[in-house]
Amino acid sequence: MRDIGLMFLRAVRPTLRNPVMLIVGISQPLLYLVLFGPLLNHVAGGGSSWQWFVPGVMVQMALFGTSYAGFGLIPEIRSGALERLRVTPVSRTALLLGRVLRDVVVLVVQCGLIAALSTILGFRGTIGQILLGLVLMAVVGAGVGAASYALALKLKQEYALAPVLTSTMVPLMLLSGVLLPMSMGPAWLHDIARINPLSHVVDAERAIIAGQWHDTAVWLGPLLGVAVTVVCVMWAVRTFRRLAD
């Protein structure tokens, strides 16, 4: 635990020194909100489309923002900084989890900022419901971040990591109903989307923030999210432990 704390401190320092990067990091979801959100006025059906769209944007941030985490590890692999840390007695798990913790904190802060800014557009939610929504995002972000680090360790090069991430994340996002309701599409597309655990996470995030506790998505989404994250983190921990092989 102490090692995780130290590695978290080391990972979070550059961010604290340059908090503007946090704002730059939310520029893309902000663009989606301002330039894409208004298109949804007649789509979501009844009520404010913001209640429907803002939770989706949060999931998109958990997916995309955090999946780039691995890019931060590659310079450390290349320079020798990771190697230097590997020779210290620091726990291999902490080398991973310290970084993941930083990414989760950054993600939660960014999602919080997006939620706050969205109230200007008309988004509404109780603090409790939004906090619960942020917890779910933290869980998903941890899994995505861990997987991204494991991939970075295996691929070691930006040019190899980028296409792998894009080709995984884009279909995951398109099949999750982040941007438009999957029910608008043909039945086959809707069926594929149901297999994507992320679509259930998106449903859960919307239900939680809307306070629709009777919706089965409220427990199914988090359950799937936790399961996927546990698998990702276990895989990443294994990859870090086996670096010497």
Binding site: D3, L6, L9, R10, R13, P14, P75, E76, R78, S79, G80, A81, E83, R84, L85, R86, V87, T88, P89, V90, L243, A244, D245
Partner: protein
């Protein structure tokens, strides 16, 4: 301090096994400054990385700083320091922050941070980001990070590669001090002959994953090829008769003897007794490059 038996590492390259290190036996005593000399690809770095717990051996065993490499790598890590080929400081970290985190990871007292930053002349840049340091400064930070916990054994992987001559001389001083003042055992790899010659008490010559020779720099030079002696004499043909294996070039003769400094006085007496006038005497100590050439049939410079 290090005892290794049959240490080997095989990599798989496109499905085919490639033997990088082919079973090495090593013994390093406490307080020694030992160098691993060989061309690129000889297996130096692979061996060093195995001993520093960064790479698991595919065969063999080793006790490093009192701990078993296979069963207790964490125990080894607590007792050793390591300077890799790259730079250990994260480029987006401040110098002092990296040193403090390193000290905390080893549970070393934080006063070491200030002491070492001062000793290695990094005080002025301690609050700067590592990315803004010069090559020599980064290397000095690596040394600070590597010895913050006063390790008994320090590994250095090609410590002076990429440094300008001045930083290189400076680094050599620091490496000697690690041993002389801090009492550490030092194990380094290099493909620079002058570096091995200037720094090491003992040299292990490695080629194709095997140790092909070992000894002090002087021992290696004398056992393998001997000193080259050149004499300018009045009667080269007759003089050559007194010097086994001599070759004649004009009125100069060249030959090798194990130790030129001890062989010459007697030889000059013999030549004077035979009425041969010697007008000039030159001896050349063999370089480690000569050693390497004799051992492997290849020049070290070709390999690097």
């Amino acid at each position: 301090m290090i005892k290794a038996r049959g240490l080997a590492r095989t990599f798989s390259v496109r499905g085919r096994p490639v033997e990088a290190v082919a079973g090495i036996d090593l013994d390093v005593q406490p307080g020694e400054l030992v160098g691993f000399l060989g061309p690129n690809g000889a297996g130096k770095t692979t061996t060093l990385r195995m001993l520093a717990t960064l790479l698991r051996p595919t065969a063999g065993e080793a006790i490093v700083a009192g701990h078993d490499l296979r069963t207790d790598p964490a125990g080894v890590r607590r007792r050793i320091g390591y300077l890799g080929q790259g730079n250990g400081g994260g480029s987006d970290q401040r110098v002092r922050d990296e040193a403090i985190i390193q000290a905390k990871l080893y549970r070393a007292p934080l006063r070491r941070v200030t002491e070492l930053i001062e000793e290695f002349e990094l005080t002025d840049v301690a609050d700067r980001l590592v990315a803004t340091l010069s090559g020599g400064q980064k290397r000095r930070l690596d040394i600070v990070l590597g010895m913050i916990h006063q390790p008994e054994l320090i590994f250095l992987d090609e410590p002076s590669t990429g440094l300008d001559p001045q930083s290189r001389g400076n680094l050599w001083q620091h490496v000697r001090r690690l041993r002389d003042e801090h009492g550490a055992t030092v194990f380094l790899t290099t493909h620079y002959l002058d570096e091995a010659d200037a720094l090491c008490d003992r040299i292990l010559v490695i080629d194709h994953g095997r140790i092909v020779a070992e000894g002090t720099p002087d021992e290696l030079k004398s056992t393998v090829s001997g000193d080259l002696v050149s004499l300018t004499v009045s009667d080269p043909a007759r003089a050559a008769g007194h010097c086994p294996g001599a070759t004649v070039r004009g009125n100069q003769i060249d030959f090798r003897v194990p130790r030129g400094d001890t062989a010459l006085p007697g030889l000059l007496g013999d030549l004077a007794a035979a009425d041969i006038t010697v007008t000039s005497v030159q001896t050349h100590r063999p370089t480690l490059d000569d050693v390497f050439l004799t051992l492997t049939g290849r020049s070290l410079r070709d390999g690097s």
